[in-house]
């Protein structure tokens, strides 16, 4: 059997390894558009912080890993998929035939369509190449403007400060990390950052970026909607990501925000599957279909898609829980599932503003359906277990309503 996997992020890599485990004789080809060994974006903040070198970002540390598993790695972009003829066409014109194909092409950073967004000292923070550029320009004493206070923006704050830059964050929304935090947590996070010397402009927008006049000391001028322009040496644009689906235009493979898949991670074409940031997969919480773009989901997808490719749709995906953990200069926040609550649900909240601690549990009847937190990390994974297992809390529901911090006891009592 000929398997082709397009994309060497966590999803594609796990898929290759899973196929190999299940089928020793399969021919497996992993195609990646990047010219370097498979690496993890999750490690980029630690690379910027100089806690690790580039090799520390690699998904697998043994350089012989793929060849020892008999996985052929091709470093070339895929330009087109011919589903009627079962081949993929690479950018260099090569056509490679497959019997089963997995599309795990991930996502790319998006930038707002403003003047100056393509200037030399304006970078996204998504690829290892972006990280190299940021590392070379975010030097001590430089002024950096960070566009976007979402997950990526927040997770690189510590490394930027450690590099000794003067930092200003410009966020369009009215709070930080609006997609994983409510007003209370987002507000606390903002005051935490400000207490560390970061300037944050919320409900603000960059309208354009231009090269500064020769009289200015900084090479860039960042123009804002409501405030005076900011001089900058470097602008980092972390305003969001989108699935890599452009190469599918003109193919028969159906896509919306991401590639449309069924509960087996199979696309509308029988022998083509999709996984990870490019797949519009099933959300466990509300059984809706959307792109989650998170590492645990990418891994889960990759494994399940691979099983289904080898064992003819024997493994149903019951949905992934959307979840995040974010370290913003030492303040750790999490969100799981329906952290924003559901209609007719109940909530239990613990707030200790002074110590930046917050815990917000959301229930549907006596089951936990979501949480968000600041400053709570011990045993936090059990939240996934409680949500995923739809554990009936019984008497513990009332105890958690009184004291949300007793999650672990509630879980142990359910065993």
């Amino acid at each position: 059997m000929q398997y082709i996997i397009v994309g060497a992020g966590p999803s594609g890599v796990i898929a290759c390894e899973t196929i190999r485990k299940l089928n020793q004789s399969a021919q497996i080809t992993l195609i990646t558009g990047q010219s370097e060994p498979p690496y993890s974006r999750m490690a980029i903040p630690y690379f910027l912080e100089e806690k690790i070198t580039e090799s520390g970002t690699h998904l697998r540390h043994n350089s012989e890993h793929f060849s020892s598993l008999g996985i052929i790695v091709i470093n070339e972009k895929v330009n087109a998929i011919e589903t009627s003829k079962n081949f993929v066409r690479l950018a260099d014109g090569t056509e490679l035939g497959y019997e089963k194909l997995l599309l795990a092409t991930g996502a790319q950073a998006v930038s707002p369509p403003i003047d100056g967004i393509h200037l030399d000292n304006v970078h996204n923070c998504w690829t290892l190449e972006d990280a190299r550029n940021i590392a070379s320009k975010a030097v001590a004493g430089s002024s950096v403007v960070l566009m976007g206070a979402g997950f990526i923006g927040c997770i690189i704050l510590e490394s930027l400060l450690k590099r000794g830059v003067n930092l200003t964050i410009v966020e369009m929304g009215d709070r930080m990390v609006p997609r994983m935090m409510d007003d209370t947590a987002g507000g606390l996070l903002k005051s935490w950052c400000e207490s560390k010397g970061v300037r944050i402009l919320t409900s603000e927008q960059v309208t354009s970026i231009n090269d500064a006049d020769s009289s200015d000391q900084k090479p860039l001028k960042v123009n804002l909607k409501n405030s005076p322009a900011l001089p900058a040496d470097l602008v980092i644009c972390a305003t969001g990501v989108k699935s890599n689906i452009d190469f599918l235009k003109g193919s028969d493979i159906a896509f919306d925000q991401g590639i449309i898949v069924n509960e087996f991670l199979q696309t509308n074409i029988d022998n083509v599957y999709a996984s990870g940031d490019v797949a519009q997969g099933l959300d466990f919480s509300d059984q809706s279909w959307h792109v989650q773009a998170i590492q645990p989901t990418a891994v889960e997808h990759g494994r399940i898609a691979a099983i289904n490719m080898v064992q003819n749709n024997s493994c149903k995906h019951h949905g992934s829980i959307n979840m995040n953990i974010l370290d913003t200069m030492g303040l750790i926040s999490t969100s799981f599932g329906q952290w924003m609550g559901i209609e007719g649900g109940q909530e239990s909240i613990l707030l200790d503003k002074k110590n930046f601690r917050y815990l917000n549990l959301q229930f549907k009847e006596d089951c936990l359906v979501g949480i968000s937190s600041l400053g709570h990390t011990q045993n936090i994974g059990v939240v996934r277990g409680l949500i995923r297992g739809k554990v009936k809390l019984g008497a513990w529901k009332e105890r958690l309503m009184k004291d949300p911090s007793r999650l672990m006891e509630a879980y142990l009592a359910s065993l």
């Binding site: 993890s40 999750m42 590492q295 099983i307 990390t377 994974g381 672990m408 065993l415």
Partner: protein, 162 residues
Amino acid sequence: MEKSLVINPDNCTGCLQCEMACSYENEGVFNPSKSRIKVFTFHQEGRFVPYTCTQCADAWCQQACPVDAISLNLVTGAKEVNESSCVGCKVCTISCPFGTINYNQSSGKVIKCDLCGGDPKCASACPTQAISYVDADQTGLDKMRKWATETDHASTNTPANA
């Protein structure tokens, strides 16, 4: 024969010797907050429940790790964190549905039970045999492992991980 930790909460008196032994073995300090085994107290029932990683076959932490920092010790069966590879991203801590891999802020890495390389100090420190280290097939881990399977329907069909 692979051995595993067996926990019998009925024998636990809440003395926390296990937490002291664990933190001393692994962190060099007698500090329960740095222990990889935790004793939970149920005041209402007057009950103590020691709890740590079961070295589950699914190894959610290992699968979720983006930098290959968690590996299987083929001798003990433990899933071990390689400190030099761990970047401290904490993805494993939200992926483990048992909550038994935790972030250690002072080292900037995650920590979990590694069975002390085959001589778990919590078990030897326990005065009441609430924690023991015995042949794997005698353990009461089945219930937890069953629960692990139920939380990931996918794993029921994964021969590679069975």
